[in-house]
Symmetry: C2
Subunit: 357 residues, 2 copies
């Protein structure tokens, strides 16, 4: 039997409970597909701060780097909100992305037929939405230097950050995006603010240059403000979107909310080589943590992405995806995707309902 | 009779036609209210590029600075899209904002009862939305230095921009936002990315400091990615939003699309003193320019904001707002807000329908 090492990073809030469901799903899927998983659980985020004083302990990063793939729950919570920057849970996540060099963040936003009514958008607008945001994850204003605080010439305090992209950073994320679009519906929309920002002008120039390698993919460009509008106006116009770190943060969250099922959406973060990082796009939801209310499906689907993109185990991944759809078809719902339009009463989804048949 | 000088900047695309409607509305309103307007039309954007070779001629800026208020149509078009940065129509707009020192951009997003079906959001979500985005307009990454292109240590080309805010810049926009919230429903939500960006950390710190001057206004904070989601999930939770230049660009466009009537939405840009700049939030729509299809109401309502915020002529402003509502009540619609849900057939809105009674 094949064997893979998986680092599990439960993190904070609902992280531990959704990770525990996903772990069970992986074990069961593995048993059917002849795959063995060796799990190692490590602390990150607030949990790591409480335990070790830092949001990403060296041991956690080392374990993650040495494994075949990393599955993360969620990070953050009220307790640590007032911490200084280097002691914020979020800083641990950023260090993890940097440490694993996962520059390509794939965030699907799909409206499942079973859940179309969960969207706040009209049925005819939401129906059929199936887009993928490819977000640059280890560059731009998130990591750009110089950054910090200082006193300017007038004796005033200023806070500053640098939005910066190098040609090679743009080229590699563009290639991932074109490859992704090619495997989907062959349409790529690059989002920038090239009418104002130099970093965006270089972005657009390089994306156009790389597009010559992908004549079969239809490339368009859109300004970020317009993209934020178009996602609301007609999300069905999009297939694959590629954009920088901060615009990707904003637009992928907007896109996910358009589906109405943010508790359902997984993500994959990939590097050139080395293990990928897989996590639900939802947060740590401290208000419902530990109450068995959280929707585990985003993490379960992240485990599916882990199998597909991280380990190349497409058949096992599909098995999980099918199980999730089947679970929904059978009427199981958590509160976040429960809507009065359904025939079946509210039933908490349970790990066993995800059993691959 | 009172007399004011107004600089009209028709600009590009549908700009001239919507400005001409708004001008007529101002004249008619002035006749009723005993106000005289002296108009001066000046070129800006692509029109100015074609005429003078620069997107904001000195004469245009000087005229604007010397007048009591400035009314702008729209800027930009395919012809100039490939221009270098300093020869882009958009650059003229940025220079105008900078030259007039209009640091506070007020962008209302209101769902009128008459137009609730124009939104792509479900009726129960869109109904009653009435929010105001207060966007910082002359700072942040739009104007921050250093910016540009260079070759880095590895011989690679990089493009970079600086997101930067000084205490005084944050304080003054925060005060405008608190004052605005106070006159509305007393709720202010400050949007930032303080979990990642130092510029946002200073932003949050100063907004909290200024909030001490406004104990009657309820202040909350939200990360920009969450704000992009919450606008889709439940836009009715917002009263007044304050945010930086780039986040304001994105969120105000998203908010406007949520109303479904972007052809209806005005904006005001104000400085400490000196003339304000008033413009519809929609673009130049070159595809429908010159065909008498454009919705002039955003510009007409911008003229109302000009009267109210720019000249302190609240009664005249209200007269225009009432006329706009009356026009809608009487069933007049342009294509952008026409929806099959209406009883009356499609009739082009015309200036005379805006006659204040
Ligand atoms: C928690 C935060 C640092 C993070 C980000 O901004 O990247 C989150 O919003 C995300 O999108 O994964
Ligand atoms: C045209 C462009 C420079 C401008 C901006 O980004 O500010 C526009 O999008 C706006 O919001 O007024």
């Amino acid at each position: 039997t094949k064997s893979y090492s998986i680092t599990l990073l439960p993190g904070d809030g609902i992280g531990p409970e959704v990770i525990s469901v996903a772990r069970n799903v992986l074990v069961l899927t593995g048993a059917t597909e002849g795959i063995e998983f060796k799990f190692q659980e490590m602390p990150v985020g607030g949990a790591a701060l409480d335990l070790t004083g830092v949001p990403l302990p060296e041991e956690t990063l080392a374990a993650a780097q040495q494994s075949d793939a990393v599955l993360l729950g969620a990070i953050g919570g009220y307790n640590w909100d007032k911490n200084e920057k280097h002691l914020k849970p979020e800083t641990g996540l950023l260090q993890l992305r940097e440490g694993l060099k996962v520059f390509a963040n794939l965030r699907p936003a799909t409206v499942l037929p079973q859940l179309v009514d969960a969207s706040t958008l009209k049925r005819e607008v939401a129906e059929g939405v199936d887009l993928m945001v490819v977000r640059e994850l280890t560059g731009g204003i998130y990591f750009g230097k110089p950054r910090g605080f200082k006193t300017d010439r007038n004796g005033e305090e200023i806070g500053f950050n640098t939005e910066v992209y190098a040609t090679s950073e743009i080229d590699r994320i563009a290639r991932v995006a074109f490859e992704t679009a090619r495997k989907r519906h062959g349409k790529l929309c690059s989002v920038d603010k090239a009418n104002v920002l130099e970093a965006s002008m270089l972005w657009r120039k390089r994306v156009m240059a790389i597009s010559l390698e992908y004549p079969d993919v239809e490339l368009t460009h859109m300004y970020v403000d317009n993209a934020a509008m178009q996602l609301v106006r007609n999300p069905n116009q999009f297939d694959t979107i590629v954009t920088n770190n901060i615009f990707g943060d904003i637009l992928s969250d907007e896109a996910s909310m358009i589906t109405g099922s943010i508790g359902m959406l997984p993500s994959a973060s990939l590097g050139e080589n080395g293990p990928g990082l897989f996590e639900p796009i939802h947060g740590s939801a401290p208000d419902i943590a530990g109450q068995d209310k959280a929707n585990p499906l985003a993490t379960v689907l992240s485990a599916a992405m882990l199998l597909k993109y991280g380990l190349g185990e497409a058949a096992a991944a599909e098995r999980i995806e099918t199980a999730v759809l089947d679970t929904l078809d059978r009427g199981f719902r958590t509160g976040d995707i429960y809507s009065t339009g359904y025939v079946l009463p509210f039933i908490h989804s349970s790990p066993s309902s995800l059993l691959p048949r």
